[in-house]
Amino acid sequence: MKKEIKDQGHHPLTVPADKIKGFLRLSQALTACELDPVLAGTYFVRGQQAFGAQFEALINQFETLTSQVRTPAFVIRQHIFPDPTLGPIAKAILLLWYIGAIQNTSTGDWQIESADDYYRALVWDAIGAHPPTLSNGYFGHWKYPPEM
């Protein structure tokens, strides 16, 4: 039978490594998690597609302000989130890491691009669980509290 599932591959990396590094630094400040650089490359492209020039403006602003001896958390709290343009984009990037999807502003639907994005969403680990359909567990593990 003909397979109907798309390949689960990432976007080709078409952006310079230093830009992705800047995006990764911003993402790690937003999530306080160690993040996969390869997935960061994928999400960089998605951010570009979704938010255009403002996306790179966000990264540049974060890089500039954090180079001025301010902590990343301070920069996000005091400068990025309050910014009427950059704040919503930064929150969308944070949600992309947590949910694996970006919300379509016209339909309200969350757009996910691959099963990999679904399985690697940070929310599941944060709540002590796992993405449904992939527990990686043994029979009965739900009888006990999660190992955090």
């Binding site: 039978m1 639907d109 043994y138």
Partner: protein, 577 residues
């Protein structure tokens, strides 16, 4: 299990079965042998491999119940979960059912595919209770079944072995008089951490004068390797799909039947049955997805679609020898459509209970499923959720709220998310619905995308059911108080309910041809070689998830079919292919 693209249009079989869900699959498996030729006709298809269905669901932006099961050509087998046009997925039910003139909307749905809706069922298998079979005698409401619990009990045991039910015999023997003659074939699915905490706090507690007990829910979900399938590893996705086949689905018995040389013909939408002058029904006409038409001839014909599709097919078959439709001398085909109506109460626990792990529900409270109150109002069953507030969009909605509304990020976000979600509690009630002839499936004037008339549904709840929501919600509130959890909000409007996916009624079983459609063996009162099986035959529905009763009745009917088959002649030899 792939259909041929071109088939003979006249074939003879000993038994022709319409529908490959749990009832049809079990009967096909039970009857198939070298000298009994069985044909399974299925409107849907087998589709892609299980793992590919899982990936399809995982990568879908809109994750619906039917997302894993999108047919290769949805226009050929539209259904309440499968829109002909993907843009209609969010309202597929309303595109398929014609409920224009219905006071309330019938909310439950099903899959049209090989294995049927058991692909997306939760897997719970509580039996009906003795009084569920004698509602009219015991309480003066509803109807009596032509069989009693004791008649079906041996078949429940066989069904539990066939599906592979995990359960605790000591807990379940004699619940409300439902004795068990044999143990479950495997030990219970372990209760969740949350279940254990709630059960401990409810120990020796009385509510409404009754001792409340939390029982592990029997489930057709492996607690150990069974029948070539692995034990459950708690992937938390029974609905919509078990990724490893630990949960039973009817493809298990379709495969067993095919191995015994049953013929599975998928992508064949049965559009009409034909009545002979002697009132027998042998000819089953169908339309293939590729446009070809076919007719199968069976010594015995078994209708094993669900309660909506079975009724639709019988009504579509109205003709010269059956003016009101097949098996419809009583004019009751399509009547008495039922469901279990549900409400979920979401609450916050003081202590973490760690939801989103394990099967979505592993324990319930059976205390309120029977009692003299059933003279006045419906019984209800309570289930404890392991799925947090997923029905309200958690945990995604929690992240969105914390990030957008509270501007949280970093370690603070992670800690707050854990704090909030790990305390999410769900307790649901499932309320019985009495048979009401006005709750009815008829034929719409509109056709579906394959050119078949759509089911029109009229559905309204009665005071008997509506008044049960109040006591059920009161009980849940008391339980939440005892377990130290605070409800988020409680919607007490009896018209705000959800369906359980338990499509029942429409071809009720009964004592005589005037008041029922089939007899106690699921044989049509009007046609001696026509069997109708599935949830459609339930005269009443109690509060038990219906699948194990469907399976028990199907196995019982299979025994009857085997015994009566010799009564019906084979076609002349020259007509065989």
């Amino acid at each position: 299990m792939t259909a041929k693209s071109s088939i003979p249009t006249n074939e003879t079989f000993d038994v022709v079965i319409v529908g490959s869900g749990v009832a049809g699959a079990l009967i096909a498996d039970a009857l198939s042998q070298d000298d009994v030729r069985v044909l399974l006709l299925e409107a849907g298809e087998t589709g892609i491999e299980r793992q590919d269905m899982v990936l399809r669901w995982a990568q879908a932006s809109v994750k619906g119940l039917g997302t894993p099961y999108t047919p290769s050509d949805p226009a050929k087998v539209p259904g309440p979960e499968q829109p002909a046009n993907e843009n209609d997925r969010k309202n597929a039910r309303d595109v398929y059912y014609d409920q224009t003139n219905s006071p309330e909307k019938y909310l439950s749905t099903y899959e049209r595919r090989v294995g049927g809706s058991t692909w997306h069922w939760l897997g719970h298998t509580p039996r009906l209770l003795p009084n569920d079979f004698r509602m009219e005698s015991a309480f003066g409401v509803g109807a009596d079944w032509p069989i009693r619990y004791s008649d079906l009990e041996p078949w429940y045991c066989k069904a539990e072995r066939a599906l592979g039910v995990a359960g605790d015999d000591a807990e379940w023997n004699d619940v409300h008089g439902a004795f068990r003659s044999q143990p479950f074939p495997m030990s219970k699915i372990w209760p969740s951490w949350s279940d254990v905490q709630i059960a401990r706090k409810l120990k020796d507690v009385e509510i409404s004068g009754q001792q409340v007990s939390v029982l592990s829910t029997p489930s057709a979900r492996n607690s150990q390797a069974y029948d070539g399938r692995p034990p459950c590893s708690g992937n938390a996705s029974c609905v919509p799909i078990c990724p490893i086949g630990a949960k039973y689905d009817a493809s298990v018995h379709v495969k067993k039947a095919v191995q015994k040389k049953a013929v599975l013909r998928e992508r064949c939408v049965v559009t009409r049955l034909e009545v002979e002058a002697d009132k027998t029904v042998h000819r089953v006409h169908y339309k293939q997805w590729d446009g070809l038409s076919g007719t199968a001839w069976g010594r015995i014909v078994v209708i094993a679609a669900n309660a909506i599709e079975s009724a639709k097919l019988l009504l579509l078959s109205a003709g010269p020898n059956a003016e009101k439709g097949i098996a419809n001398r009583s004019d009751l085909v399509g009547c008495n459509l039922m469901d279990h109506l549900q409400k979920a109460v979401l609450a916050t626990s003081r202590e973490p209970i760690f939801p989103f792990r394990g099967p979505p529900s592993t324990s319930g409270i059976e205390t309120f499923r029977d009692g003299s109150f059933r003279e006045r109002r419906a019984a209800y069953r309570l289930s404890l959720g392991n799925d947090g507030w997923s029905r309200a969009g958690s945990p995604y909605n929690d992240v969105v709220r914390l990030v957008r509304d509270e501007s949280m990020f970093g370690a603070d976000l992670r800690a707050r998310l854990f704090h909030d979600v790990s305390r999410q509690v769900r307790i649901s009630c499932s309320v019985e619905v009495l048979p009401n002839p006005e709750n009815r499936v008829t034929l719409s004037d509109q056709v579906d995308s394959f050119g078949v008339r759509r089911p029109a549904i009229h559905f309204v709840t009665e005071p008997y059911t509506r008044t049960a929501f109040g006591p059920a919600l009161d009980t849940i509130a008391e339980i939440l108080r005892i377990i130290d959890a605070s409800p988020v909000s409680v919607d007490r409007d009896p018209l705000h309910y959800t369906g359980a996916g338990h499509v029942m009624g429409t071809c009720r079983m009964g004592f005589d041809a005037a008041t029922s459609v089939v007899d106690q063996n699921c044989v049509s009162h009007d046609h001696p070689n026509l069997y109708i099986v599935g949830g459609s035959t339930f005269p009443t529905c109690g509060t038990a998830n219906p699948t194990i009763t469907i399976a028990a009745l199907a196995l019982r009917a299979a025994g009857n079919i085997a015994a009566t088959l010799p009564r019906f002649p084979v076609l002349p030899a020259k007509a065989h292919p």
